[in-house]
């Protein structure tokens, strides 16, 4: 059997290609080139280096409204979630007692501090009025005690002296006294 000359009408037979293959081929080759050759000067593939992502018409014009609406929704959701928790806590009797105790303690402590401060202030004020150049807070406690004790012993000594003088005046023997002189 002799091989006949090639029939040009059957050039591609028996090979077929998927529909639209050659129409899309250019784009696919360009994509491959961009992926394969990262060193390609971007100016050479201007249309390929453009980002393929686009936004819907008017997207950016209405973007802020969308964000605002979303933020509002988020806030109201948070508030809705918060309210029941707060209510639950309020209705918890143990928590109620604890809070009351804390308040009483705080008030008591505050009252104590207030009372103490008032006394201290009063004392200091008196000392400042009577002795304007002396600050009572500056006295040493030991020194004050020592001073007090010494003043008490002086008083006792004075009393002793007075008692002995009275005794001599009342019980003195005048004749004996004259003889002695």
């Amino acid at each position: 059997m002799k091989l006949l000359p090639y029939n040009k009408a059957d050039q591609k037979a028996p090979f077929n290609v998927p529909e639209g293959y050659f129409a899309q081929l250019n784009d696919r080759i360009r994509e491959r080139i961009l992926i394969e050759d990262q060193t390609v000067d971007s100016t050479l593939l201007n249309d390929l280096t453009q980002t393929p992502f686009t936004a819907p018409d008017g997207y950016f014009a209405h973007l802020h409204k969308g964000i605002q609406a979303k933020v509002t929704t988020e806030v109201s959701t948070v508030n809705k979630n918060k309210t029941p928790i707060l209510r639950k806590l309020i209705h918890n009797s143990f928590l109620q007692g604890a809070v009351a105790a804390c308040i009483i303690l705080c008030f008591g402590f505050w009252a104590f501090l207030k009372y103490r401060d008032t006394n201290i202030t009063h004392t200091n004020e008196i000392s400042k009025v009577e002795y304007p150049d002396v600050d009572a807070d500056m006295f040493d406690e030991d020194l004050l005690i020592e001073t007090y004790l010494s003043s008490v012993s002086e008083e006792k000594n004075d009393q002793k002296d007075k008692i002995s003088d009275d005794y001599l005046i009342e019980n003195i023997d005048e004749n004996l006294l004259l003889n002695e002189i």
């Binding site: 059957d10 591609k12 037979a13 028996p14 050659f22 080759i29 491959r32």
Partner: protein
């Protein structure tokens, strides 16, 4: 029409940076179908052909500015495509244990590819071609289907015209025998 633009114009425009991209577009449009079927006849499977075609155009893009015009643009492009196919088939051959497996791979592709649609005679011719040694198969495809001149095939394959004529002659004989036997 892009495919009517001559190679010299494409080359000139490609070398000018501002028109390079358009020139490459023209080059793709001019050669994509011819190259596709050239590759497809060698590797049979559409997916393989598609990969190799893209690889070929990537290499063309990367190297066209270094093209010295010692040969025509057409043969230079075909040489790249043919080398891509030969490398692909050799890799497939290495993966397989014997050359029989390689032929079987191509034959299976021919039988199973979803993008095959030809007459029984056309299919038989393809089966006959797949029985040929690799070099004869390539020469036969280029000469018989693509009607290339031996000088052009010589530029693409780097094989002497005499050797090409002999290869083609042997290929035709084997195919005739295949048809006679069956």
């Amino acid at each position: 029409m892009a495919h009517t633009i001559d190679d010299t114009t494409i080359l000139t425009r490609f070398r000018a940076i501002q028109s390079r991209e358009n020139a490459f577009e023209d080059l793709i449009n001019k050669y994509k179908e011819r190259l596709y079927y050239h590759i497809r006849r060698m590797v049979i499977d559409h997916e393989d052909a598609d990969d190799l075609l893209q690889d070929t155009f990537v290499k063309i893009w990367q190297n066209l500015d270094k093209f010295q015009e010692n040969s025509s643009l057409f043969t230079w492009i075909y040489r790249i495509a043919t080398n891509e196919c030969l490398n692909f088939l050799r890799k497939k051959n290495k993966q397989n244990t014997s050359s029989i497996d390689d032929s079987l791979y191509l034959l299976n592709s021919l039988e199973e590819s979803p993008y095959i649609n030809g007459s029984e005679l056309q299919m038989k011719l393809q089966r006959a071609i797949l029985t040929l040694p690799e070099k004869q198969r390539i020469v036969f495809n280029m000469k018989y289907f693509e009607e290339m001149k031996y000088e052009e095939i010589n530029e693409i394959l780097g094989t002497s015209v005499g050797a090409l004529k002999a290869s083609y002659h042997h290929a035709v004989k084997k195919i005739e025998e295949y048809f006679t036997k069956d």
